[in-house]
């Protein structure tokens, strides 16, 4: 049987029908067949309804109304379908298609025809925005009690939940935001409210509600279809002034896609780099640095999966398929209690669920990669699938190169994302997320690198009741790399490294009452590291196989947080996250002479631990405190204090992170990295929220920040502690941001002044660095300026432009030459005493979209642009080499020229 799902207006109210409504009035949600509806009305009002059999008999009704008469109800249901509703003086109702039934003779008495204009049916009914929606029975609750309204905010086109949509109760100045699934819950005193709903990229809407009892209101938002008129900015309140978080940034994928990037490939991480407080050590660098932290101090979550290496091609591309990304949130200061395990920041990348209503897709062709993504309902309204893949075709290009060494080289990568969501019922949703990426390189036939991420997790979201929800996630994250070299047959080797983690996370969100919202959870991660397998390659290799002991540990955390709304202006959030990190056997630990630097010469004992025996236990609380005070409707001040700990460390003694860097667990000798951060800011919005501005300042202290002794050996080292030193650090800075979130012209400008200074002054820890004085960390780039601007000339042509200026990265320069045994050597300055020249770059891109007919099957867009339009040769590094006995200095630029690009995208 052909089933119709009928939506009236663009909203859906799910409430039991028939509660507390007047006689012959209809409110609530109706989900039944049309004959059943007719029967219901006929029974209730004791009248007859006449209609021709056929089409209407198979109509399935899904309808939400409030306070309508039967005529209004039927008209709302059928008007759009070209049916007319007429009532005669007896109350009998006549339904007819094409033209109305005349229930009285013309000219005699009143015409009882409901006037009907089929081409404009919506005009007839009161727009949903102006209708009063009554929730619950007015008599059930005493006046003054509080009630909870909850539900989902969804996109009308795809049915997907809209994250961080704003639900504002006007008059009460109470605002809540939806979670990543689009779910919101708001606690309000009983009464009548105007709810205003805003979400980026969506038309804003409002609802009049009479809240009597706890209830549910789901709201669908229409996409802000680009009209030829300027888009009216309707955002009522700027979220940045109202949220409780300090140092949090949120980018949705539309914003990310506008920023011009190298080779025309939308790159999530490069846009994150343009946020205040985020820097990188270089243009082709894996990872990013947040407020002076190292790249490994960022927790990168892709749909709950921890991604250990977020880049492709040694750092030129980020490993996230942009068509699968919904939004990106970066927490720099107040990190929610549910996140832990990293010192500096959390980058939470939310994945796009498949379209719940129809199959859609994107395809893109760029100079180096092709991408494809599809998404749609596996089962209508119940289960969605979203699948994306990207691959490079650089191998083909390399085969065309004239140089033989190139032709014999290989560089390729791919990534695959999978996301499925199953709406089991209104209370239960199940998500399955998978991610696979791989990079392979081969240089000149005999040396090859390969690395890849593999992640899989299942998440169950359960709504216990309107106030309490929980998510339960289990998953596995894996990263591995392999290096093979056969340049010399006797030394030919294969080196393999792998990190695995299995995790279970349970997170609860409990809206206690109007004042308190609690977050709590228990999380556990089991780490298993294979720190190095070194094997001979080929039969003539004399390489002795070497296998470092596997390392394993369990990190368990419980957390509890409370968002407490003291009054309409002041809110605080206080939380604690308690960690227990256990490093356990089997394993071998060395014991060193107490009071002496750890060195191979001071090893006094070797301790063996059995399987499961605890080698080392670290436990401590992390505090998460923040407050917000609304100064006016449009401005606020906030402050936060956050402490963090990190038990998993990446060790890299190169300028950038290389794919072959290793991760190491905290153990008896390597203490957890610890840090605290004090942060405060002033936020304000101007010109009816068309502009947002903020100033944030912070001060940070870091302890047990790992640095290396000179000439440290990191790979295949059983006693890494002898090559590592703990340093202490301090970081401080001020970040200014001016943002225009919407409009013909949109974008942002940010300026950051920041420092990160480290110190190693403990002679027992090994050598002093710079005689124990503070020295700049590698991410110390004091001035940092970013401008990102998008301007829409017309519906189909838009221009994006960005401008980046940063201070040069600190470097250690050679200051003197000496001659030893005929060999010229170099003496270097203090660590990071000098800087490479400043960095400046500007990029531009035009996007030309095909026509915008809404019903067209394919939409296409060309993107044309140029990276580094000033062709400035920005030095990535400065180095000295010995060439025929003389020492020559060079500066290395990675993209030292204009790089034009063209890319083509199809949306279907």
């Amino acid at each position: 049987m052909k089933q119709f799902l009928l939506f009236i207006g663009c909203f859906l109210l799910l409430q039991l029908p028939g509660t507390g409504q007047e006689k012959n009035r209809y409110s609530g949600t109706y989900s039944l067949s049309f004959p059943q509806l007719i029967q219901l009305i006929e029974t209730k009002e004791k009248i007859r309804i006449f209609y021709p059999p056929g089409e209407l008999d198979t109509l399935q009704v899904l309808l939400t109304v409030s306070d309508l008469t039967k005529i209004q109800l039927l008209d709302q249901l059928l008007g759009k379908r070209g049916w007319f509703v007429a009532e005669d003086t007896d109350g009998s109702v006549y339904l007819s298609k094409g033209k109305p039934v005349l229930t009285q003779f013309p000219g005699t008495g009143q015409a009882a025809i409901i006037p009907k204009q089929p081409e404009l049916p919506e005009k007839e009914v009161l727009p949903v925005e102006n209708r009063l929606i009554t929730i619950g029975d007015v008599d059930k609750n005493p006046a003054g009690s509080t009630v909870v309204l909850s539900g989902y905010i969804k996109a009308a086109s795809s049915g997907e939940g809209l994250a961080t949509a704003e639900v504002l109760a006007a008059g009460k100045s109470k605002t809540v935001y939806t979670d990543v699934y689009g779910y919101y819950s708001i606690v309000l005193p009983r009464g009548r409210y105007l709810l205003k709903i805003n979400s980026a990229g969506m038309q804003s809407t409002q609802r009049q509600v009479q809240l009597n009892q706890n209830g549910r209101l789901d709201i669908e938002l229409q996409e802000a279809i680009k009209s030829l008129q300027a888009v009216v900015v309707t955002a009522e309140k700027s979220s940045v002034t109202r949220s409780l978080q300090v140092g949090a940034s949120r980018l949705n994928i539309q914003t990310i896609k506008q920023v011009p990037v190298i080779f025309g490939e939308t790159d999530v991480l490069r846009v994150v780099l343009s946020l205040p407080g985020v820097t990188s050590v270089g243009e082709a660098s894996n990872g990013f640095n947040v407020r002076g932290g190292t790249a490994d101090q960022n927790l990168i979550l892709l749909g709950d999966a921890t991604v250990f290496n977020p880049t492709h091609l040694f750092g030129f591309f980020s490993a996230f398929h942009p068509d699968l990304v919904k939004q990106v949130e970066l927490y720099k200061a107040s990190i929610p209690e549910k996140f832990g395990g990293r010192l500096s920041s959390v980058l939470d990348i939310t994945l796009q669920d498949g379209n719940a209503k129809k199959w859609t897709g994107n395809a893109g062709i760029g100079p180096l990669t092709s991408s494809l993504s599809i998404g749609g309902p596996i089962k209508k309204e119940k289960a969605t699938l979203s699948l994306g893949a990207r691959t490079s075709y650089s191998n083909w290009i390399m085969n065309q190169l004239p140089d033989k060494a190139f032709r014999q080289s290989r560089a390729s990568f791919y990534d695959i994302n999978l996301r499925t969501a199953f709406n089991l019922n209104k209370k239960n949703t199940l998500y399955l997320t998978g991610y696979l990426s791989e990079d392979a390189f081969r240089f000149n036939r005999d040396t090859s690198f390969q690395y890849g991420n593999r992640n899989l997790n299942i998440k169950w979201k359960h709504q216990f009741n309107a106030l309490l929800s929980g998510t339960f996630t289990i998953g596995t994250d894996h990263y591995q790399y392999q290096v093979e070299s056969a340049t010399n047959q006797v030394n030919a080797f294969r080196l393999r490294y792998a990190i695995n983690q299995q995790f279970f996370r349970s997170d609860f969100n409990w809206l206690l009452n109007d004042k308190h919202q609690l977050n709590a959870g228990l999380q556990s991660t089991y780490y298993s590291l294979q720190p190095g397998n070194y094997d001979p390659l080929g039969t003539s290799s004399l390489v002795q196989p070497k296998k470092l002991n596997r390392e394993q540990a369990l990190e368990t955390a419980i957390y509890l947080g409370d968002q407490y709304r003291i009054n309409s202006n002041l809110s605080i959030s206080a939380g604690v996250r308690w960690n227990l990190f256990q490093h356990f056997g089997p394993g071998t630990e060395f014991k060193y002479l107490p009071g002496q630097p750890k060195d191979t010469t001071t090893i006094i004992d070797t301790l063996q631990y059995r399987k499961g025996e605890t080698i080392q236990r670290w436990t401590a609380p992390e505090w998460r405190l923040s407050m917000r005070y609304l100064l006016t409707e449009n401005s606020s001040i906030k402050a936060s204090f956050t402490t963090t700990r990190q038990f998993l460390h990446m060790l890299s003694n190169t300028v950038t992170i290389s794919p072959t860097d290793i991760w190491k667990l905290s153990d008896q000798h390597i203490r957890p990295q610890e840090g605290w951060q004090l942060s405060a800011g002033y936020y304000r919005s101007f010109a009816s929220n068309k502009w947002e501005a903020s100033i944030e300042v912070y001060f940070k202290r870091i302890a047990n920040y790992l640095d290396f002794k000179s000439g440290a050996r990191l790979l295949l080292n059983e006693h890494l502690e002898t090559d590592l030193i703990n340093t202490r650090g301090k970081a401080y800075g001020a970040e200014f941001l001016l943002k225009k979130p919407d409009g013909r012209l949109n974008g942002w400008f940010s300026y950051t002044y920041s420092r990160i200074l480290l110190k190693q002054d403990d002679p027992l820890a090994g050598e002093l660095i710079n005689r124990g004085n503070y020295y700049p960390g590698n991410a110390d780039r004091p001035h940092n300026m970013n401008l990102i601007a998008n301007y829409r000339f017309s519906h189909r042509l838009s221009l994006s432009w960005n401008l980046i200026f940063t201070s040069g990265r600190p470097i250690t320069l050679p200051i003197a030459v000496f001659n030893q045994g005929g060999v010229t050597g170099l003496i270097y300055s203090d660590r990071n005493e000098y800087r490479i020249p400043n960095y400046f770059r500007s990029d531009i891109s035009f996007t030309i979209e095909g026509n915008h007919k809404v019903n067209q099957r394919f939409h296409n867009a060309w993107s044309v642009g140029a990276y580094n339009i000033t062709a400035r040769e920005n030095p990535y590094s400065v180095y000295y080499v010995q060439e025929q006995g003389t020492i020559n200095g060079y500066q290395l630029s990675i993209f030292g020229t204009i790089i034009p690009f063209v890319s083509y995208k199809i949306k279907f």
């Binding site: 270089g282 040694f314 180096l368 650089s394 065309q400 190169l401 190139f406 080289s409 006797v490 030394n491 004399l542 390489v543 003694n653 190169t654 300028v655 950038t656 290389s658 072959t660 002794k709 000179s710 000439g711 295949l716 050598e767 660095i769 005689r771 250690t812 320069l813 050679p814 200051i815 003197a816 030459v817 000496f818 001659n819 030893q820 045994g821 005929g822 060999v823 010229t824 050597g825 170099l826 270097y828 660590r831 000098y834 030095p875 400065v878 180095y879 000295y880 080499v881 020492i887 020559n888 200095g889 060079y890 500066q891 290395l892 630029s893 990675i894 993209f895 030292g896 020229t897 790089i899």
Partner: protein, 381 residues
């Protein structure tokens, strides 16, 4: 057009170091950056002479050849209390000991007191005895590559350092059988011939190797040196003397760092430069950087020869001077008398006639020593 754009992308990608590098002009440095540099080995071979060179480092742009440290007092001290003084050899900062008999049972160190009364000492190091070098091999394809093979039968020595010295024969562009002694032309002998010279140069590369990670202490085909074809060193005959040092893991670490710091920096994935800490310390200021790693040991040596004929058509490369010739009549009384007024010119050969004429050539073309080297044939040649 499109494909060339793609090439550009890839070049940028993979050879970024080559594609976009340009000379860097460092910020001006004011301080002199003079640090003490000690170079040498406490030679534990029976009857071995220990030789040390003391110098100061210089700033990067400084064109002065060397800053020798003269008038210093040097002593070798053993853990048994034995002390051996070193004497200055010349005023270029070189100090040598008498032939010594050091015992492998002791550890030794070097003590230095400079003329301005600053004292330094190296750490006590044990005596390391290098195994014999197995062989030095070469391959020409078409560049000439030298490789070293060695093994320690006792599997003890896992860390090595090598130095080599290359000696090659050159010839004058206009070789003469004659020499002029006290104004008279005489037949040249081995002591005053100027047609053949031998040039000896020390290696300029730091060569280290380790066998750690291998199941036996075998160094297999360690690359020593490469000479690109063509090269004047292979014009006639070439010899390489390789000296093998067994070193401690700490010394290996020091040299590896020194090598990294000067040869391997700047690639995207290359390690950061780091502080070079040897085993010498200033007594007065422990923070003062002192360069050098003083090891104690016995070295082994091996020499090989490569003749031009063994190679595939390596050409004879001459200096390429303008070798114009002048003909002058000889002294009518005694044709062996030579007193030509232009000092740039010398006697090449007699032209036939009665009395014979003298054929002169520029001295640069007659005397190979003017292009470097000695005219004394080395004993090993």
């Amino acid at each position: 057009m499109r494909s060339s754009l793609l090439y550009n992308y890839l070049l940028v990608f993979l050879l970024s170091a080559m594609a976009c590098r340009k000379p860097y002009i460092a910020p001006v440095q004011q301080q002199p950056n003079q640090f003490l540099v000690v170079d040498g080995l406490i030679n534990a071979s029976p009857g071995g002479v220990s030789r040390f060179t003391l110098s100061f480092s210089k700033s990067l742009g400084d064109t002065t050849l060397q800053y020798p440290v003269n008038n210093a007092e040097l002593r070798i001290e053993g853990t048994d209390g034995s002390i051996y003084r070193l004497e200055a050899l010349n005023d270029s900062g070189v100090y040598i000991s008498a032939p010594l008999q050091l015992s492998a049972a002791n550890n030794y160190r070097l003590l230095i007191r400079t003329a301005d009364n600053r004292s330094y000492r190296s750490a006590f190091e044990r005596v390391l005895i290098a195994p014999e070098i197995d062989s030095i091999a070469w391959e020409a394809n078409p560049d000439l590559n030298f490789f070293l093979y060695t093994k320690d039968p006792s599997n003890q020595q896992q860390y090595y350092r090598w130095e080599f010295e290359e000696t090659y024969q050159t010839t004058a562009q206009n070789p003469s059988f004659w020499a002029v002694v006290n104004g008279r032309i005489v037949e040249a002998d081995a002591t005053n011939q100027t047609a053949s010279c031998w040039i000896t140069d020390p290696s300029k590369e730091l060569l280290i190797g380790t066998t750690t990670g291998l199941s036996s202490a075998v160094v297999f085909k360690a690359p020593l040196h490469t000479i690109s074809k063509p090269d004047k060193r292979l014009s006639i005959r070439y010899s390489m003397l390789v000296r093998q040092y067994a070193i401690t893991p700490e010394a290996y670490r020091y040299y590896r760092l020194m090598k990294q710091n000067s040869e391997e920096l700047g690639g995207i994935f290359d390690p950061l430069p780091s502080q070079l800490n040897g085993n010498i310390q200033s007594d007065s200021d422990p923070e003062e950087p002192v360069i050098g790693y003083i090891a104690v040991g016995q070295t082994t040596e091996k020499r090989i020869f490569v003749n031009n004929q063994e190679l595939d058509n390596w050409p004879l490369i001459t200096t390429g001077y303008d070798c114009s010739v002048r003909n002058v009549p000889s002294n009518p009384t005694d044709f062996t008398i030579f007193n030509y007024s232009d000092p740039e010119y010398g006697f090449w050969y007699f032209s036939s006639g009665q009395p014979p004429g003298l054929v002169l050539s520029k001295k640069l073309c007659l005397d190979c020593r003017l292009s470097g080297g000695t005219n004394q044939k080395p004993s090993f040649w």
